[in-house]
Amino acid sequence: MANSQALCTSFKVEILGGVHAIGTPPTRATTAKDTFKAALFEATASLGAGTTTYSTSGEVTGAGYSAGGITVTNGTAPTSSGTTAYWTPSASLTYSNVTLTTAFDAVLIYNSSQGDKAVAVYTFGSQTVTSGTFVLTMPTNDSSTALLRIA
């Protein structure tokens, strides 16, 4: 046997689960899972790796859409396969009966339990919706396609 340098896969999963607080941990009111939300942003916005918190700047507006977006369904615990930890919302993001006439092409996933801190930005082809429904179906929850993956 020989030792091998590695970031432990269990640690990756535990990062997603909030087990480790390498920095100063936030004060949590409960031991419940945090609530994550998904907000849509116009194609002219500039979200990306530098986004730190949710803001209404650049967010879509329109009938049927509430600022801040919708709550992400979190029914599946983070897990791992091989050396990759991963997690995906357990349901599609569905914005029902909305009118969003300004083109949008991004969704921001953020933690509404922790000061609206940003998690990730995902982009897609630019869209509009008129008196209709916008559905964002999640990728397969596995080590190669999941929404959040720590490889």
């Binding site: 590695a6 050396t83 897609f124 082809g125 919706v129 008196s131 990728p139 396609t145 993956r149 720590i150």
Partner: protein, 65 residues
């Protein structure tokens, strides 16, 4: 008879012109449906299916080397 929610309220689908489309890239499969009255768009719905999200912290793979 099927109805559709439109900018003019609930309308019979038979009274509308339906247009559909789809596009597939390496990252998404997207379908949309539109309903028109003459030259007026009265309904548009979109379904985006994300195929693969970019990996977070891929640089950590270097540590795993």
């Amino acid at each position: 008879m099927a109805t559709v929610q439109t900018t003019r309220g609930e309308m019979n689908e038979a009274d509308l012109v339906k247009k559909e489309g789809a596009i597939e890239t390496d990252r998404e499969f997207t379908k949309w449906v539109e309903y028109w009255v003459d030259d007026e768009l009265v309904h548009r719905s979109v379904h985006v299916h994300l195929k693969q999200a970019p990996a977070l912290f891929p640089e950590l793979e270097k540590i795993n080397g």
